[in-house]
């Protein structure tokens, strides 16, 4: 079994890539961006305070515009929101499937920050919150 290194992001924040979200594991969403882009998505979320106590949400940007970062649990539907989870002080993340899992829907505090920062168009913010199909 491959050993996944823990990356120190800051003195008290570490990140680790979860291989089951890259190796085609059934019923797990899959990253389609590179490891370093996944890490950048996390560090951006950290910097912009999109992380709550043990969970957080992130976006992947290309040319300063949100872009798709993976596929949902069906391994087909493109998704553009990442969810990050803190497990014993080490964070890991996966592409969020907001249609299938309530816990993958960014809560109103996060969606409000995205709304105020205008990082996503308002219709997308509405569809994410309602678990509706949503593509960029």
């Amino acid at each position: 079994m491959a050993i996944v290194p823990t990356i120190s992001v800051s003195p008290d924040v570490s990140y680790s890539h979860n291989l089951s979200h890259r190796d085609g594991t059934l019923k797990k969403s899959q990253w389609k961006i590179f490891n370093d882009e996944e890490l950048l998505s996390f560090t951006t979320a950290l910097k912009k305070k999109w992380l709550l106590s043990d969970v957080g949400w992130g976006l992947h940007f290309e040319n300063k515009t949100p872009a798709n970062l993976g596929v949902a649990q069906d391994h087909e539907t493109l998704v553009f929101v990442a969810k990050f989870v803190n497990d014993k002080n080490t964070w890991h993340g996966y592409p969020a499937d907001h249609q299938r899992n309530n816990q993958d829907i960014p809560p109103e505090q996060i969606r409000r920050k995205w709304l105020e920062a205008k990082v996503l168009p308002l219709p997308k913010i509405r569809k994410l919150g309602k678990g509706q199909p949503c593509s960029l």
Partner: protein
């Protein structure tokens, strides 16, 4: 007949209209309340169009309640049609909502919320943190149009809701479909564990919609009780009827009142629901209507008296009740809403875009045979 449109510029998240007030949820975390009846004074609508304007925006029941013999007179019908057409050509735009002296108050509900509903003078708002309510009774002398005392009713992550029969139907995503009694016991009942992202009332039953799994009808039976000259009723859950049983195929489906709809392979199939005709003839297939491909995937759907409304990726489409051409509103809206339970505003479609709200009034349904129409819920017309 083309619809009549009123535009209010500004940045909004959601809208509600109830008892002469228009409520706008602003993007900066406020609720803006407008006196809806006074709003029309700013347009200086000429006297000969006041009747049409009243029917279009303030009293949708005006012509439904009229004697039908009047509308069978061809000359009278042509006069009324002409009035609506003339009104549709008027520019009804409010460039700045502040010119209407609205009332502003802080929005005490979670924001941005997932859905809202006004029922029996109470505003309900749903969000990931639960369902909240506050009274909005015009007759009380509150400083604020919406009471600042919000009450948390439930703590589940609700994505959509609909009120009727003293209950809130609640779509809770992967947790399924629930029903909350609003009076008496305030109990919450889980009707299905299957994914549900939207819910609407079909008479006294509830239709749950899903993109991930099949939609379904949570069918209830209603029993009337008569005791000491008092009439009451009891609703009892019977069973779940799958989308496949209704439509003999899978797609995205929804149902309101007497019409169940399913979008599948570029068409919208319509089934009439008559729960009083059991067991074999409660579902009657009424045909299908086409959806143009460029409009993209179907996101959600509703049914109003004036037609079937479908939100696609790239547009909102109205399939009108008079079987006329589809009316398309291009673009991806921030939000949209209809008011099928409303006595005075059931002909309105609200569409919120990034810089404005469009309040669109459809008035063709007054001239449609309510028994025979396919696209649109049947309006009860007293004899």
């Amino acid at each position: 007949m083309q619809p009549v449109k009123l535009t209010i510029f500004g940045e909004y998240w959601d809208s509600q209209i109830y008892a002469g007030r228009l409520y706008l949820f602003g993007l900066s975390g406020d609720i803006i309340t407008l006196d809806w009846d006074k709003l029309f004074e700013v347009f200086g609508i000429e006297e000969e169009l006041i009747l049409a304007a009243s029917a279009a925006f303030q009293r949708s029941d005006l012509f439904y309640d009229s004697k039908r013999e009047l509308f069978q007179d061809r000359e009278i019908k042509q006069i009324i049609l002409k009035k609506f057409d003339q009104l549709a050509e008027r520019d009804l735009t409010i460039p700045n909502v502040e010119s209407l002296n609205p009332k502003h108050q802080d929005n005490k509900f979670p924001f941005p919320h997932t859905d809202s509903q006004i029922y029996r003078k109470t505003l309900y708002v749903s969000s990931q943190s639960g369902v909240y309510s506050a009274t909005c009774d015009k007759k009380t002398k509150n400083k604020h149009p919406v009471s600042t005392r919000t009450q948390k009713r439930w703590d589940a992550p609700v994505v959509a809701m609909s009120a009727s029969y003293g209950c809130l139907a609640l779509a809770v995503g992967d947790e399924g479909l629930f029903q909350m009694s609003l009076f008496d016991t305030a109990e919450i009942e889980n009707l299905s564990n299957q994914n549900c992202i939207d819910c609407n009332w079909t008479y006294y039953s509830i239709y749950g919609s899903s993109h991930i799994r099949s939609g379904y009808l949570a069918e209830f039976e209603k029993e009337n009780h008569f005791e000491d000259e008092n009439r009451s009723y009891e609703r009892r859950f019977r069973s779940l009827i799958s989308e496949d049983t209704v439509f003999h195929g899978s797609g995205y489906s929804w149902g309101v009142h007497d019409k169940l709809c399913q979008a599948r392979n570029g068409c919208v199939h319509i089934v009439r629901y008559k729960p009083w005709k059991k067991p074999d003839s409660e579902l009657e297939y009424m045909g299908r209507l086409n959806l143009a491909q460029w409009k993209g995937q179907v996101i959600s759907g509703k049914v109003a008296s004036f037609g079937v409304i479908i939100e696609c990726e790239n547009a909102i489409v109205v399939l009108p009740s008079d079987d006329g051409d589809a009316i398309t509103f291009p673009g991806e809206p921030v939000n949209w809403r209809i008011f099928p339970r409303s006595k005075h505003y059931e002909n309105q479609l609200h569409i919120i875009y990034e810089d404005r709200i469009e309040i669109i009034s459809f008035n063709h349904d007054y001239f449609v045979n309510q028994e025979l129409k396919r696209a649109g819920i049947k309006v009860f017309q007293p004899n």
